[in-house]
């Protein structure tokens, strides 16, 4: 008798772990759709003339164990020295309890942006803590829920000043002691907007009458700590606004910007427990005076009430944002750095105000001792009063000292020709101080010098901060762990259920892809460390770029953009620079279809382009005739078109090549938005169908988790003719869209590991299954929810728009009602009312197994049944399970006076019984929240009120 092998590949990551449906389930799904097999379905859906010629290939796919080994070997090529370079990035200790329970916890990192507030109360509370902490530390009234990085926050501060300043002057003043990368990002942002940037000394070069705003760094990049009260008053006298880029840790000891009269404060919270990660991701902050609230970009968490009148959190003032205001938005920003802001807020909760202050004091005292030692050695150290950063004049010995320090394991910052910058941090110990002294030629020990304080006496902080009880919890780890667990349990993330958000690609974020983020070889590299120390990162970035080029058909990539929207902006800047270099700088018109994502017009506006809107036909496709007419009318000044493929309506348009050809015919460049790349990888390449530039949302298609609303990563790929115009090196002062050359470099590991484990074949199969899953849902739900846009054969791409408008007409049930009822079923809602009002857009991704798709289908059909019962008069029009969703435990234990049963309320079709997800709040009153804006933690008394 011969032995029959089981024939199963346990280490095939793509087909066993990443792709949800098993081969058997796929066969059932294909049959339900009515095609012979998966390839037949794909051939029917994707136009033959756009299919890529050669399959993706980069060798055998690695197993999870294999990829971790590979990552270990590449990690070993990074050399982790102690970087005391400063310049906006500092060593920090991530409290282990935060590292494991948030940073490494899928309950936090796989959540989506909290647009559905009822299932996002946990991270909304954490973000409200963040806003409260930043408003307190800066001495300003209101802070947002984070921005992408310090450089872009500074650029946003400039445009905020432009919008809100009474001054008609055309220049923005920038302190010459701002970080060089910040100045580079500001200059890049200012140029297409026609704003002048003046860099100089605020105390000698600033003429308030000539500027609409100014930005100062506090402490300065070389360590100086100045009181800006006088210059700020002078700016206000001239109708201009004042911004301060402040180190939040320094603000525990120093007078905050708000007390100097500043209107805006920005900065990075990286040193609140977020690893440097060779550039990111980190959360930047922005805080403003109340009067500027509506001009502030970015997400803003606010307090409202639910249907019972209980406190509940939500995102406030969304009308400022691009998805509503489009080119009139305050910014193209549609991402925050939620996960990192949550970590920073927890660092604040963990240490409390006293802990933060103690950390700052220790760093300062150590810096004082360092300086005393250097002075003893005869060096001239500036400034006299400082927080944690000083600059040492070394004369001709400078480079030798830098090299000696590096040999001693310490990176210092070269400044100018003869100076060295040193910035101490939370991780600095006496061995580092002594290593520096040795590099400077001294042999004393840390014990030789008494510590004291050299803080500027007239700038000491006297006001309290972080007074809210959340920052004064018992410091036991038990308490901290449970607080984070309680918050996580309020939220619904991918670790509990499918998140079928159309256009958001909420696919698996595999554990093996995430693990290396915590390794010191990747986490502890300073973005401006000598390149030779980052050989591992260089290898990964180069290899990932090559793979992404193969996937897209482009010639070069820039990893700099920190979000999809920033990628759009960077891509359009690249096009702009290309035209300018050819003497065609007058080309400024950008054609954008009405179906585009709101970031497209907002980004075009930021890139100095004039948006011309193109219509779509009744079937949802771009109106080719209208497109041609408008391209022709702007033949002299056409810069670009921005299209999304497959379209935002979830269809592979057959006219895409024609659209690209028309654009090129009239001198424009084609920007293909990569938001829907998950329907193309391995099958269609944007570069082949006529694209010149695209961004890829690595946080959608390439497995980076959404982090509950950031981080994101939007690298851009370009054809060869555009490669010379890609963003440059920010600290070197080249054109830059974010602070660090490779943006949030550390999360590139995730996409790289994903590509290695999937292999070219696995990625292609993933695309096919993503399309299969969407078509399966569309078919199964068609009778209850017609698919709004489909091919003549009834097919969709990787997502489908369910038309719920008929249901509303018949029963009065809105998309909101369906979304909130899905919470009762234990689901995150699909994308609501976008791109078409009154519809739901569903994108299941390839990672969802058939059982989860079926659970969703059952839930949606159950909701359709309830709507029918309303239409038939069986259920009351208002007092029914849909209108009163979501249901809470409070509802069940209270008086039950509803014409439907408790059973119907809490166990709708599709809901788990034992593992039921309970919404922590009833439906949230959005209007109340926007009419009564509260964006910091409510005072304790109001907690008592709520409990009564």
């Amino acid at each position: 008798m011969s032995y029959a092998e089981v024939g199963y590949q346990p280490y095939d990551f793509a087909n066993r772990r990443h792709i949800g449906p098993s081969p058997k389930e796929m066969a059932e799904m294909v049959a339900a759709i009515g095609v012979a097999d998966l390839d037949a379905l794909i051939d029917r859906i994707i136009p033959a003339d756009i299919r890529q010629e050669r399959p993706l290939a980069w060798g055998r796919a690695l197993s999870e164990q294999g990829v971790l080994e590979r990552l270990r070997s590449v990690a070993a090529k990074n050399r982790v020295l102690t970087s005391l370079i400063g310049q906006g990035y500092h060593g920090t200790v991530t409290p282990p309890v935060i590292q494991r329970n948030i940073f490494e916890n899928p309950a936090w990192y796989t959540a989506y942006t909290p647009y559905q507030p009822e299932i996002s109360q946990g991270r909304l509370e954490a973000l409200l803590n963040y806003q409260t902490m930043m408003a307190d530390l800066t001495g300003l009234d209101i802070a947002n829920a984070s921005l992408l990085d310090e450089g872009t926050a500074a650029a946003e501060a400039m445009t905020l000043c432009r919008r809100s300043s009474r001054s008609k002057a055309g220049a923005f003043f920038v302190d010459h002691h701002c970080h060089p990368q910040t100045i580079a990002v500001i200059r890049t942002r200012a140029e297409p907007l026609g704003l002048t940037v003046t860099v100089g000394d605020p105390f000698t070069d600033l003429d308030p009458a000539t500027v609409f705003g100014a930005l100062f760094q506090y402490p300065g990049t070389y360590g100086d700590v100045h009181d800006f009260t006088g210059v700020i008053a002078a700016l206000h006298g001239a109708g201009a606004l004042a911004c301060v880029a402040a180190d939040p840790l320094a603000l525990t000891l120093l007078k905050p910007p708000g007390e100097m009269g500043a209107d805006v404060a920005i900065g990075s919270t990286q040193r609140f427990g977020i690893p440097m990660g060779y550039g990111g991701p980190h959360a930047a902050y922005m805080a403003v005076r109340t009067a500027l609230t509506r001009s502030m970009p970015g997400r803003l968490v606010g307090v409202s009430v639910d249907a019972r009148g209980n406190r509940a959190y939500r995102l406030s003032l969304q009308t400022r944002e691009q998805h509503i205001r489009r080119e009139k938005a305050t910014s193209n920003i549609c991402t925050a750095q939620a996960l990192l802001a949550v970590m920073a807020s927890m660092y604040g909760v963990f240490h409390g105000p006293d802990g933060l202050r103690a950390i700052a004091e220790r760093i300062h005292r150590k810096t004082v001792r360092l300086v005393k030692g250097l002075e003893k050695l005869g060096f001239s150290v500036t400034p006299q009063a400082f927080f944690d950063t000083v600059t040492v004049d070394c004369g001709p010995r400078r480079d030798a000292i830098l090299a000696a320090a590096e040999r001693n394991g310490v990176n210092l910052r070269p400044v100018g020709e003869t100076r060295i910058g040193i910035a101490f941090d939370e991780r600095t110990r006496r061995i580092h101080t002594e290593a520096i002294w040795r590099a400077f030629g001294g042999g004393m020990s840390d014990d030789d010098l008494a510590h004291d304080y050299r803080l500027p006496a007239d700038l000491l902080r006297t006001s309290a901060y972080m007074t809210h009880p959340v920052f004064h919890m018992n410091r036991a780890e038990a308490e901290m762990t449970r607080y984070m667990r309680r918050l996580a349990d309020r939220d619904l993330a991918l670790d509990r259920a499918m998140i079928p958000l159309g256009s958001c690609t909420m696919k698996l974020n595999a554990t093996a892809e995430m693990m290396a983020l915590s390794w010191p070889e990747f986490a502890d590299l300073h973005p401006f460390a000598p390149a030779a120390q980052a050989a591992g990162y260089a290898e990964i970035i180069t290899d990932l770029e090559a793979k992404l080029c193969q996937v897209t058909g482009y010639a070069a990539f820039s990893m700099q953009p920190n979000s999809g929207a920033q990628g759009e902006y960077a891509g359009l800047l690249t096009i702009r620079a290309f035209h300018a270099a050819r003497g065609e700088g007058h080309r400024t018109v950008c054609l954008i279809p009405t179906s585009a994502h709101g970031t497209n017009p907002a980004s075009a506006q930021m890139a100095g382009m004039k948006v011309v809107v193109v219509g779509v036909t009744a079937t949802g496709d771009i109106d080719v005739d209208d497109f041609r007419r408008k391209a022709e009318a702007h033949a002299a000044d056409l810069a670009a078109c921005m299209i999304t493929y497959p379209s935002t309506h979830g269809v592979f348009e057959t006219t895409v090549r024609e659209i690209c050809a028309i654009t090129h015919e009239f001198g424009g460049q084609v920007y293909i938005d990569g938001a829907n790349m998950n329907a193309m990888v391995g099958l269609v390449r944007p570069g082949d169908i006529g694209g010149d530039v695209s961004h890829l949302n690595l946080h959608k298609t390439f497995a980076i988790p959404h982090g509950g609303g950031g981080p994101g990563m939007g690298p851009i790929g370009v054809k060869a003719h555009l490669a010379p115009f890609l963003p440059g090196d920010p600290p070197a002062g080249e054109a830059a869209v974010s602070s660090a050359r490779y943006g949030s470099a550390s999360i590139l590991l995730i996409s790289w590991a994903y590509c290695l484990m999937m292999g070219g074949e696995g990625l292609t199969q993933a695309t096919k299954v993503a399309i299969l899953n969407a078509n399966y849902i569309a078919r199964r739900l068609k009778a209850a929810y017609p698919t709004l846009y489909a091919s003549p054969a009834g097919d969709v791409a990787h997502e489908c728009i369910l038309d719920t408008r008929g249901l509303k007409e018949r029963s009065g049930v809105t998309v909101d009602d369906i979304a909130k009822r899905l919470v009762d079923c234990g689901f995150h809602a699909p994308t609501m009312s976008w791109p078409v009002p009154g519809t739901l857009m569903v994108e299941p991704t390839e990672s969802e197994p058939k059982a989860e798709l079926d659970r969703f289908i059952v839930a949606m059909l159950g909701i359709a049944g309830e709507a029918r019962a309303i239409a038939d008069g069986i259920l009351d029009a208002e007092n029914n399970p849909l209108k009163r969703a979501p249901h809470t435990v409070e509802d069940l234990v209270g008086e039950w006076d509803r014409p439907y049963s408790r059973e119907a309320a809490c166990y709708p079709a599709g809901a788990f019984r034992v593992d039921k997800y309970w919404s922590p709040v009833n439906r949230i009153d959005n209007v109340y929240g926007d009419r009564n804006l509260v964006c910091t933690c409510p005072p304790v008394e109001s907690y008592a009120d709520a409990a009564e």
Binding site: T319, R320, I324, N926
Partner: protein
């Protein structure tokens, strides 16, 4: 006599003074208003300029100046409590009064029947 614009503003003209608000139809489309921004008194606008902003939770919309002139007075009540616009859009919740500098423009406005025909 009350006049209208296709952009959903209503205008009462008396001599060279016009009172401007937004129509009940516009308010119905926007839903509960949460924010109203009004122009500064003394500001001068040309017909068609955006002079005010209204926001609901889900929508933001500019209110256009229906005629050319100078802002004389604004309705602080609705800025303090935007819900008043929902309550009485075509009555007490006027937005601003202006002194017209080009009376001929009044001819271009719609009468009630024309406006209602447009919005169906």
């Amino acid at each position: 006599m009350r006049k209208y614009t296709p952009d959903h503003e209503w205008v009462d003209v008396a001599g060279d003074i016009a009172t401007v608000g937004i129509t009940d139809h516009a308010v119905e489309q926007l839903g509960d208003l949460v924010f109203v921004d009004l122009p500064e008194v003394g500001a001068e606008y040309t017909k068609g300029d955006a002079a005010a902003v209204v926001e609901s939770v889900k929508a933001a919309s500019d209110v256009y100046c229906p005629l050319t002139g100078e802002i004389l007075e604004i309705n602080e009540d609705i800025r303090e409590d935007p819900a008043k616009v929902n309550a009485d859009p075509q009555g007490s919740a006027w937005f601003f009064r202006m002194r017209l500098t080009n009376l001929a423009e009044v001819e271009s406005l719609l009468d009630e029947a024309d406006y209602r025909a447009i919005v169906g």
